[in-house]
Amino acid sequence: MKRIEAKHLLGLENISTQDIETIIDVGFTFREVLERPVKKVPALNGKNIVNLFFENSTRTKISFELAEKRLSADVTNFSASSSSVKKGESLRDTIQNIHVMKMDCVVMRHPIPGSCLQLSNYVDVPIVNAGDGTHEHPTQALLDMMSIKEKFGKIKGLNIGIVGDILHSRVALSNIFGLIKLGANVKLCAPPHLLQRHIEDYGVSITYDVDELIDWADAVNVLRIQRERMGVGLIPSIREYRKFFGITSERLSRHKKEIVIMHPGPINRGVEIDSQVADGDQAIILDQVLNGVAVRMSVLYLLLGSNDFD
């Protein structure tokens, strides 16, 4: 019996709602494993997983590595230099290397959208997208949804806001596709030029007013403002961004309803979110980190356990 239909986790846009729900459910089972004195299960004993990171990432990489080790898989880390990505040679070589090394699963982070899907055309082991540029970062969205479900007991019917640089985010699209599939209402809030055109066609609503978003939402996912976006004309200044889009404690205190605050990390304290908010009772940011390990265990277990690739 297959537990999920999908052969790879490339994104949440092209995976069934049923599969998303299964991954989150099994994620909660692994949450229980993470509470045990011994947090390791032998489920993927003897499986080789390679973490291919063509772009710097500390948190995602550690989270995947922890998930793999707690499933007893053998882990190989491969960090490519950014120069090989610049030359664009990486994908082709990667394909050959994976064949030769007889890996059972590939976890890949790559700066260019679509790279994981392209790789899946040539490699017949499961591929997990750990972020492909401004496209998708499905495990991040899964952990976000798992955290929402943990907090509210459901996802369907909730009002979920996402605020920040939606256009350049690797997190936003996956969250949008996943949340809409699971029946949440999604509203985006960003400076108008940092939103994709036609994004409303994918079932979300838009506001440029962060106070309106807070009034409306049950939970708000605060995206990180990347400092490299400053100074290239996209965000005029930190103080201006804070004034119009920042999740400050002063702003939250003006609203009667208490909403849940999420953040994919790493946090720019004092830029997109205040320290008091990030460390406060409303925030579930640390739960997100823990759920990240659990949901990645779930993804790897379901992909490697439910399909026979021999």
């Binding site: 019996m1 297959k2 537990r3 459910d25 099994v26 909660f28 089972t29 949450r31 229980e32 494993v33 045990r36 004195p37 011994v38 947090k39 390791k40 299960v41 032998p42 489920a43 499933l71 277990y301 356990g305 439910s306 026979d308 021999d310």
Partner: protein, 179 residues
């Protein structure tokens, strides 16, 4: 297609058997306070719960109870034999220095019990582990033997023992089924 060959146990026989198993477990444990019963999902869990109720009634002592889901510990998931529905384990007591009786419905190859013992170790170091099963149908593939057996029932490989419980199936009954 499967067909029912015979009814091995009916409701009354099952109930009597559980009472007998409970007595045997009490007899072999001098200190009830260190005894814990752990059921293996899903049907083992139900019998374990019944045995706990029975032991508590007979002895008047509270007995620790836990549930194991051995899915992640199985050695055969790539053959897609793992349980289709995975749920969390629930062992809410300190396993260290406990005398534990694992409970399952049917003992067959022994692989589930091997997985359950491994998993139990991830919660701590038990003082001892014993095994209680409702039916032992033979065909062991590992050196595992039950300490408390409801009924030994030798079977052939194309036969299957179906244990029905009221909580899931609407009735208590053990059937011998042929494929």
């Amino acid at each position: 297609m499967s067909k029912i060959k015979s009814i091995l146990l009916n409701e009354l026989e099952m109930s009597k058997m559980l009472t007998r198993l409970s007595h045997e477990i009490i007899e072999s444990h001098n200190e009830i306070s260190s005894l814990a019963i752990v059921g293996i999902r899903t049907r083992g869990e139900i019998f374990a719960r019944k045995i706990v109720d029975s032991i508590e009634k007979i002895s008047g002592h509270k007995v620790d109870f836990g549930i194991l889901d051995v899915t992640f510990y199985r050695d055969d998931f790539s053959q897609n034999l793992g349980s289709p529905k995975i749920g969390p384990s629930d062992v809410n007591f300190n396993v260290n220095d406990k005398n534990i009786v694992l409970v399952d419905d049917v003992l067959y190859t022994g692989r589930t019990i091997r997985a359950a013992m491994d998993e139990l170790f991830s919660f701590g170091r038990a003082s001892s582990i014993k095994l209680g099963v409702l039916i032992d149908r033979g065909h062991r593939e590992l050196p595992i033997k039950a300490d408390f057996v409801g009924k030994n029932f030798p079977t052939s490989n194309n036969e299957h023992v179906h244990v029905l419980v009221n909580e899931i199936d609407g009735k208590d009954e053990v059937r011998l089924v042929e494929y």
